[in-house]
């Protein structure tokens, strides 16, 4: 197969970027999208030109490093797929494919296709955890969690922090990303003592970082490679409202406001 990759090249954060076309031939349908960029890079380097900078690591869809807008879609055309798990069989022979970085003010471009996602880490640092010192834990089976609830918590917890939801959102909102963590921990008994504090802190951190607000475009869940359901955003809003009513220091566990299934 042959393709033309029209790739966003931007030498640095402050430089002006532009799309540059790179034709490539001899690609197999089972080659991965990233292997095609690697092949272009080998060609570029052979001509003493700078290779395309992009991020990847595990190449098995779990580390969340890869982050490409492909033909205008975060992680490309296939649903529930990271860029690294995208194969050329998804494209037509001879196609021109546009490749751009995530686009969001809060995720500025560093170079070419690499963006700075540290804002997402800072949201997590604000309160995206359960505070428990090493050694404080009771026996694991003393905390019972129904299978249904545990499975829903897992579904939310499967976020890989890639930022596709933000890139796909017209408002560059991080609601799906924040909601996934808030909901995971709100569903579990261990998460109750800090439940109100957590949601307020994380939403404040999200606002501080300059992410936009959700206005129900639903693009985020569509783009999510881990199929995190849109319902977590509704759940986040409910958590936020509840915390607003009761206050940041309110301990949900003591007052039985855990939502029954």
């Amino acid at each position: 197969m042959k393709f033309i990759l029209s790739v966003w090249r931007q030498p640095s954060a402050t430089a002006t970027g532009r799309l540059v076309d790179y034709p490539i031939d001899g690609i197999g349908a089972d080659d991965s999208f990233l292997e095609v960029i690697d092949a272009i890079n080998e060609n570029l380097m052979a001509q003493q030109q700078e290779p395309i900078a992009y991020e990847m690591d595990c190449r098995e869809g779990i580390c969340g490093s890869c982050s490409l807008m492909i033909n205008g879609s975060a992680h490309g055309p296939q649903r529930a797929t990271t860029t690294c798990q995208l194969y050329m069989r998804e494209f037509s022979d001879g196609e021109t494919i546009t490749v751009e970085p995530w686009r969001a003010d809060a995720l500025p471009v560093i170079k070419d296709l690499i963006v700075d996602r540290s804002a997402m880490d800072r949201i997590m640092q604000s309160a995206g955890y359960i505070s428990v010192h090493t050694g404080e834990a009771p026996d694991a089976n003393e905390i019972l969690v129904s299978k249904h609830r545990a499975d829903r918590a897992f579904e939310a917890a499967s976020c890989i922090g890639c930022g596709a939801c933000i890139a796909a959102c017209p408002n560059a909102s991080a609601m799906l990303f924040v909601a996934a963590k808030v909901v995971q921990l709100a569903l579990l008994p261990q998460g109750q003592p800090e439940r109100c504090h957590r949601v307020i802190s994380m939403v404040e951190a999200m606002d501080r970082e300059g992410f936009g607000n959700c206005s129900n475009h639903y693009e985020c869940a569509e783009a999510c490679p881990k199929s995190i359901p849109l319902s977590v955003i509704a759940h986040l809003n409910r958590e936020f409202l509840q915390a607003g009513l009761f206050g940041r220091e309110f301990s949900a566990a003591a007052h039985r406001v855990v939502h029954e299934e």
């Binding site: 190449r59 869809g61 969340g64 170079k111 640092q125 428990v132 922090g161």
Partner: protein
């Protein structure tokens, strides 16, 4: 050089059950006020690193954490799929600390340090407690209790799991615990920072040199102790289950500064991975061992059988693991399963277009339990398989082949997890201690978290209290001298201005290692590999092409530095494999076998091989730590 370079392993006295308690009771302690004055560098923020950062910060230490990733959550621990072992005996199937210890020792073919492994089993239960308290969403039964499944090399169900994302969920737990300490100002996180060198003063580790991957800035960082949690080196084979960035640099640069490298040739080749399908392929994706709970592995009885799997009747299938190892069957340990897979493929009975894979078949389980059950258990793994291969594994058996996966070898550490260099600690996959010559499934997560949450944060205090070293200033001449060496190496890489890409060298090195220092090794092959590696290294330094500068984000330069280290380290792996004239665990010397099974030589090789760097012009020196087995009897490893 005298043999005194290998220090005492500091294994405490007393009965096996009491050793860890004994060790804890006798550790020197630091007051909370003095802990706050101590600064500890942790390199790597995967399971071991993040859990250590969090716990040491909770204790009051100042922690400086370094990762080459943009976020700690990208560490390759996330890719661990199937589970984490613990001797909770929740299933009431007769499990105990002793059984987990015995399975792990036997799984490692009696080439690990007994006391370390016993401690690992003792700590295993606390890890599950800790992770559940953090909100890690482990799989549960309908009644709300934690669910368990079986893994290779065990006859009990002791593996806790979170679908096929156990590593990801455990890492996010440790990441959360570390984030909390970052928020509190106790951990200072340096992302996109790669460690280039270890700095020593008066024989002690006193800091590191890093390169900022965005700006190219080379910086000195001083501390009272340095912890390496930098993972494994299976990426040396080029195609492996490891992440593209996984590398040996931090460990290898420390080895060049005098740290002993133990059992470097002990590398795990995992039996169930998606095979190489085309020339450009950059990655071999793991299919979790957990699939072997319900999947049956087979090949056609006849060589060159062209029929579709479903057209081959039951009587013409060879379920070779069940046939050869009836007691453990499809859950035989990884080294043994991998060799059996290789053997049937070498016999010409492999399946698939290139005849180099075997079937992992879920049909019987689907018929017995239904598709919904299999989807619930393995859904995300099977989706991944379909994404990559475009084959529906619910309808057709998976095709799998072994791939390089894990490093049992690593820097030598004593019972306190300190290397032979005072002040340099090594945890997780980066050290050698617990898995011997073969690691059992679901044990890597257990070891990483045991080291990070429960062992290192205790033992490091002993070093800091006992020695009370005065922190070396990062303006000390030892830092500027080491910075100069690191800078010089980068300049030399950029000055080559040759024709060949870094990847082409990595591919060629990977081929050499896979063929001569992979699943089967022999003297002739290893000797030729050493020659070929040396020639390839010379070519690398004469004909490498790096475009771009050192003062900018330059991924090719980063990659070149790592491959340069692999090109040296590969030789050490081969030397170790050559010196070990026996077969044990994953180390299979064709000269030492009985009907295809590893033939161990306890008389001569019941030791840890710890290698000491002697300069580029000399071969490294081998030191041996004898392994004594007081508790576990060194028997033949029988899974039949």
């Amino acid at each position: 050089m005298s043999s005194s370079i290998l220090p005492d392993a500091r294994v405490p006295g007393g009965g096996m059950e009491q050793k860890w308690e004994h060790c804890l009771d006798n550790l020197h302690l630091l007051s909370p006020a003095n802990k706050r004055k101590k600064k500890i560098i942790v390199v790597g923020t995967g399971l071991a690193g993040a859990s250590a950062c969090a716990t040491m910060a909770e204790l009051g230490y100042q922690v400086e954490a370094f990762t080459f990733h943009d976020s700690p959550r990208r560490a390759h621990s996330i890719a661990a799929q199937g589970g984490i072992n613990a001797s909770k005996n929740y299933c009431n199937d007769g499990d105990s600390d002793f059984r987990l210890f015995m399975d792990t020792i036997k799984g490692g073919d009696f080439r690990s340090r007994e006391a370390n492994v016993y401690r690992l089993a003792q700590i295993s239960g606390s890890i599950i407690d800790q992770c559940v308290a953090q909100g890690v969403p482990f799989a549960r039964e309908y009644d709300g209790h934690l669910d368990n499944r079986s893994f290779g090399g065990a006859l009990v169900s002791r593996t806790f799991y979170a679908k096929g994302q156990t590593g990801q969920q455990l890492l996010l737990g440790a990441y959360g615990a570390m984030n909390r300490q970052i928020h509190l100002g106790k951990v200072h996180l340096h992302t996109r920072s790669e460690m280039l060198e270890l700095v020593l003063k008066d024989g002690r580790a006193c800091g590191i040199i890093t390169r900022n991957l965005l700006t190219g800035e080379i910086r000195s960082h001083s501390a009272d102790a340095v912890v390496l949690a930098t993972g494994g080196y299976s990426n040396i084979y080029h195609r492996s289950t490891n992440a593209a960035g996984s590398n040996v640099t931090a460990s290898y640069r420390s080895y060049r500064r005098g740290a002993l490298f133990a059992n470097p040739s002990f590398t795990q080749i995992h039996p169930t991975c998606i095979p190489v399908m085309h020339a450009h392929q950059s990655k071999l994706t793991l299919m979790s061992e957990s699939l072997r709970n319900h999947g049956r592995i087979w090949v056609p009885v006849a060589a060159d059988d062209q029929r579709e799997a479903r057209d081959i009747p039951e009587t013409e299938r060879d379920y070779f693991l069940e046939r050869k190892y009836p007691a453990y069957g499809n859950l035989s340990p990884r080294d043994i399963s991998s060799r059996a897979v290789k053997q049937v493929c070498d016999e010409g009975r492999g399946v698939g277009a290139l005849k180099h894979s075997v079937y992992l078949d879920l049909q019987d389980a689907i018929q017995q339990h239904g598709t919904a059950f299999i989807e619930q258990q393995y859904g995300n793994l099977l989706d991944m398989y379909q994404h990559i291969t475009n084959v529906n594994p619910y309808q057709h058996p998976l095709q799998i082949y072994p791939a390089a996966h894990y490093s049992m070898g690593g820097l030598w550490v004593d019972y306190h997890l300190m290397s032979n260099i005072p002040g340099l600690f090594v945890i997780g996959e980066a050290n050698f201690s617990d898995h011997g010559a073969n690691r059992l499934g679901a044990s890597a997560l257990m070891q990483g978290l045991a080291d990070g949450y429960f062992i290192l944060p205790q033992t490091i205090g002993h070093y800091l209290a006992e020695n009370a070293p005065v922190r070396v200033s990062d303006h000390d001449p030892v830092f500027s001298a080491t910075v100069e060496e690191a800078q010089d190496r980068i300049s030399r890489l950029l000055a080559i201005k040759g024709k060949r890409s870094v990847a082409s060298f990595h591919r060629e090195l990977g081929d050499i290692m896979w063929h001569h220092c992979g699943m089967a090794r022999n003297q002739l092959g290893l000797n030729s590999a050493i020659e070929n590696i040396s020639a390839l290294r010379a070519q690398f330094w004469a004909n490498l092409n790096i475009v771009g500068s050192a003062t900018d984000l330059n991924q090719t330069l980063e990659y070149a530095g790592r491959v340069a280290d692999y090109l040296e380290f590969a030789e050490l792996m081969c030397r170790d494999a050559l010196a070990r004239e026996e077969s044990c665990g994953a180390h299979y010397r064709a000269e030492h076998q009985i009907q295809g099974e590893a033939k161990r030589n306890d008389k001569q090789f019941s030791h840890v091989a710890a290698w000491h760097f002697q300069g580029d012009a000399n071969t490294p020196q081998l030191h041996k730590e004898p392994l004594n087995f007081d508790c576990a009897k060194q028997v033949e490893r029988n899974y039949r």
